[in-house]
Amino acid sequence: MTTLIFLIFAGIAVFCGINLVVQTHPIASALSLIGVMGSLAILYLQLGGEFIAAAQVIVYAGAIMVLFVFVIMLLNAGAEGTSRQVSSFARYVGIVLLAAFLGLISFVIQAMLPKTEGVVFGAFQGGTALDVGRKLFTVYLLPFEVTSVLILIAIVGAMVLARKEI
């Protein structure tokens, strides 16, 4: 069952990832990215990260990607034009090279990774909201506060950039 769920959602993630790259229209790419994020959230659940799975859906799929879709709709961005000086030869070589590179990486990971036991759903229960919160507000308190400053800077920056006069 664990393997089946992994295979299904890994398949969806890879399919959506490929779709993101090959689709010419930004909206189609954005929806594929949402598909990747959703299936990754399921995989996080499988790895015992229930809080991070919910955060993934709320923050990534529910806020960041809505912002992307909003901007695409606002700018009425159309499909990419075809007026590019890239030979089709380079494109096919690129696909082959990417596949070869990924195959090599997979082989290296497979060979180098020390033998650990496989992933079974429910074996790791430490990813609850309680555990994440406890660690976040004790050990990682300083980085947490720094990110809040970062967010504040980002808000001010976005507002300055979005003004009418620039």
């Binding site: 993630a13 993101l20 954005a30 991070i52 960041i64 992307f68 901007v71 990419e80 790791f124």
Partner: protein, 103 residues
Amino acid sequence: MQNAVPMSWYLILSAILFGLGVAGFIYRRNIITVFMSIELMLNAVNLTFIAFSYTLRQVDGHIFSFFVMVVAAAEAAVGLAIILTVFKNRETLMIDDVSSMKY
């Protein structure tokens, strides 16, 4: 069917997604799609963090990916504001056309 997924599968999936993100970043010409490819790479890295967190039985990986999400949110806010400004000034979203600083 075996009932435990090998840890390496998660890492390979993460590598594939990261590779697709890099490919999209290089291949696509629309600023927004390029930006989304970056988000795909961040997601792939998050998966690695969570997978290692499982192996080590520690919650720290979750915290790392939480921070990655926060940074991605900040980045999306600023990045999309920049894209809006670029579009307002140049009426284009193709990165090939935004090249006045290049030469």
